[in-house]
Assembly symmetry: C2
Homo-oligomer: 192 residues x 2
Amino acid sequence: MNTEARLDFILRLDGLKAVERKTYPSGMNRAENSAEHSWHCALCALFMAEECAFPVDARHTALLMLMHDVPEIGCGDTFAYAEARAGAEAREREALSGLLAPLAPADASRLRELWEEFEAAETPEARYANALDRLLPVLHNLSHDGLSWREHKVRLEQVMSRLAGVAEVLPGVWALLKPRLEQHFAGAGHEQ
Amino acid sequence: MNTEARLDFILRLDGLKAVERKTYPSGMNRAENSAEHSWHCALCALFMAEECAFPVDARHTALLMLMHDVPEIGCGDTFAYAEARAGAEAREREALSGLLAPLAPADASRLRELWEEFEAAETPEARYANALDRLLPVLHNLSHDGLSWREHKVRLEQVMSRLAGVAEVLPGVWALLKPRLEQHFAGAGHEQ
């Protein structure tokens, strides 16, 4: 019974490969999906920990990353700069409960706890994870001359406000990134 | 300097999102890529450990999964049933060295060790990881009525031989899967 439910859940997870984000992986002309984004974040957690302003368990952070977008299988991605962002957490929690319901309770709790820890953004690992989650799309945007920002009329002040956590958690990264962002938005083609 | 190299490496990892595998995620009509496959395997490691015939550290297995296909960024995917498979390990080791070269030595070693452990398939975690890596495409194939097996003229005996590790490592899964495979290949449309 549990085995059957686990195999079904494996295929259900495929749904995250169909959730399109608003950014484009570097060198590619298609939208990134949330499954490959989750892999990317998880792996980055393993070699970015030295950049972190405080000690973190990089390996645990990778696990948070694996689960952080899974509720989107049930309710889709909410764009970072969307107005509907406010209700996203409640929608995602509900979607996650539905997804995990067929699993054995121990399996379901283990996965739910990873998502809840990420979402609360309180532990050092969850803060580091959230900073990486926000950093990667910025690198993608800069590699595509701000394509997704231009498409969605995102302004520098919105990016800066969303990246407050990156500045705090990854100060060395921020020192490199801030002038690049300012220079980029000073160029043509952006909303002011 | 290290920070710059890390940011460059983050974008280099995007390459795995462009590596196409031969299977199709369930419910989708495009090839799976190796980045989303790596996320899928890593997350599955967290809830399939009870199926494993021996005790494993599920969390460590997830980390092996994050790195197991990274060399493909340099040398592409080798199809499970391809004749060129023999030299794949050496090609992948070389590709990985090239990819990791710009990173700080400590970062590079940490990532290389995860790949080497997976590839050697000797530790309990690496055996469990290899079994999951082989299980997932079978589930995808069954969900698509064997589409990729038919496209590549793969026979039941080839699938069975490749799944020896699944039978050994995930016996309860194998008990469910074996009759489904036999029934599937007994149907029309396959090479005999």
